[in-house]
């Protein structure tokens, strides 16, 4: 899967399932401060990522993920690790 394909799928679930407005989805957007993703939303994102991409996010691997770009990179690496 290419990074572009990852971005497209991540954006789709962020818009449709987490209900974040599309115009906020910029690569440098801060997940917590700008997109409003809190700890409960993150639990749902773990569930959705497992469904969309077939792997389970490990919270400890997310400690340095603060922006949407870093989140795309993390998912891209995990998907292509398989």
């Amino acid at each position: 899967m290419t990074r572009e394909e990852v971005i497209q799928k991540v954006n789709t679930f962020l818009i449709e399932e987490i209900e974040i407005e599309e115009n906020l989805l910029k690569e440098d957007a801060l997940l917590k401060e700008e997109l409003g993703i809190d700890s409960l939303d993150f639990v749902d994102i773990v569930v959705i990522v497992e469904r969309y991409f077939g792997f389970k996010i490990k919270p400890e691997e997310m400690s340095n993920v603060r922006t949407l770009s870093q989140f795309y990179d993390y998912v891209y690496q995990q998907v292509n690790k398989k």
């Binding site: 987490i18 409960l40 939303d41 639990v43 749902d44 773990v46 569930v47 497992e50 389970k56």
Partner: protein, 407 residues
């Protein structure tokens, strides 16, 4: 003594999704009972249930609020919105004033079973998601509504089986009368999903009269063969009288008596005429009334053989001289369980406002106990100044409320 009045009502049930629809159904004697084929597939003995449409909350509530909301919480939200609107309570009022919230609820099965199913399949509790814990706790209704409506006063769930909704009003009444709150949202909520009633169905107490679902719930009738489960939610705004007048709120009725008792018996599921009698008698005493003052009794009668008989004996014992009109609205709604004690106050106030007694539909032939009651078989024009509403639950918990037209 502080007076306690009702300044708003909301209802979401199988006979209507708002007070206007429900008032019409009550007047017409319309049943909300149908068949849920999913129950048959799941292994129920009876697929009969009140058919309650799930509300669409997208656009009304944000994703976080919806994710935490159980089915019965959704119904309660709709009922509470309607009650607040009628009571003229808007966002500004909620933001700047202390209101309490006491809701009757005694189960929330769907999220529990779905979470268990995911854990079994995935062997990973994280994959249950964020909403399940808030949906599965018994206090799901009060915790969700208190967050959404910015509640700052008393805030808890009353769990008392099929008397939950009635006790919530009785306890809210007590809080206001004693000066501890000026306004409390009281209500009851009941889930209707396939997981919610399986164990109850397993007791073989549900009607299996499948040929005509609208005839299945027949409280007090000699040929009754069991109750029909149902659900939805009801909400009432209880408020101190002077507080309501000062706000210019519509005053719909006054709560004047709350009687309670427990059966003190060894059987967990069987009712008891003494306990029922004491609750009714206590509600009259608290309201400084005599049995002759009651114009209408909204009976608990669920359409079970034993329960209806016991209640008929207790009502006859207390009201044999005056024989007020009696009906069980469960003949139309089915048994709304945790919600029933609150919804039946809404139903009875609608009758009071429109001067009629709703029929006890399907009451065709009395048995040896119900023949002693004055049961309304048809919609009956009647001025109701004061009514009494009964609710009884497993574990022998009894509640009776007395409500009067405001004077």
């Amino acid at each position: 003594m502080r007076r306690v009045v009702i300044t708003g009502m909301g209802i979401y049930s199988c006979i209507g999704k708002n007070i206007d629809e429900v008032a019409k159904s009550l007047y017409e004697g319309k049943s909300g009972i149908g068949i849920d084929t999913l129950r048959t597939q799941y292994g129920y003995r009876s697929p009969l249930t009140g058919i309650v449409e799930r509300p669409q909350l997208k656009g009304l509530l944000d994703r976080r609020a919806r994710a935490c909301m159980s089915e019965e919480g959704e119904y309660a939200y709709m009922a509470t919105l309607e009650a607040l609107k009628q009571a003229k309570i808007g966002d500004d009022y909620l933001e700047n004033n202390e209101i309490g919230l006491l809701f009757g609820n005694d189960s929330s099965a769907k999220a529990v079973i779905e979470a268990h199913t995911i854990a079994l399949e995935k062997k990973d509790t994280t994959l249950i998601g964020s909403g399940a814990i808030f949906q599965s706790m018994n206090s799901t209704v009060s915790m969700n509504l208190s967050t959404i409506f910015k509640i700052k006063g008393i805030n808890l769930t009353i769990s008392a089986a099929c008397a939950s909704g009635s006790h919530s009003i009785g306890i809210g009444f007590t809080f206001i009368r004693n000066g501890m709150q000026d306004m409390v949202l009281c209500g009851g909520a009941q889930e209707t999903n396939v997981y919610s009633m399986g164990s109850f169905d397993g007791l073989s107490v549900f009607s299996t009269r499948l040929d005509d679902p609208t005839k299945a719930s027949r409280p007090f009738d000699a040929s009754r063969d069991g109750l029909v489960p149902s659900g939805g939610a009801a909400c009432l705004v209880l408020e101190e009288y002077e507080h309501a007048k000062k706000r210019g709120a519509p005053i719909l009725a006054e709560v004047i008596g709350y009687g309670f008792s427990s059966n003190g018996a060894v059987n967990i599921s069987q009712p008891n005429e003494t306990g029922s009698y004491i609750a009714m008698e206590r509600s009259l005493k608290e309201a400084h009334l005599q049995s002759k003052d009651i114009d209408y009794i909204n009976a608990h009668a669920t359409s079970t053989l034993q329960g209806d008989a016991i209640e008929a004996i207790a009502i006859d014992k207390l009201f044999s001289d005056t024989k007020p009109l009696v009906s069980s609205t469960k003949s139309m709604t089915g048994h709304e369980c945790w919600m029933a004690g609150a919804s039946e106050i809404v139903y009875s106030i609608l009758m009071m406002q429109n001067s009629f007694v709703a029929p006890n539909i399907n009451f065709e032939k009395p048995d040896e106990y119900s023949c002693k009651l004055n049961i309304a078989t048809k919609t009956t024009t009647k001025n109701i100044d004061i009514f009494l509403s009964n609710s009884f639950g497993f574990g022998g918990t009894n509640s009776a409320l007395v409500i009067q037209k405001i004077k």
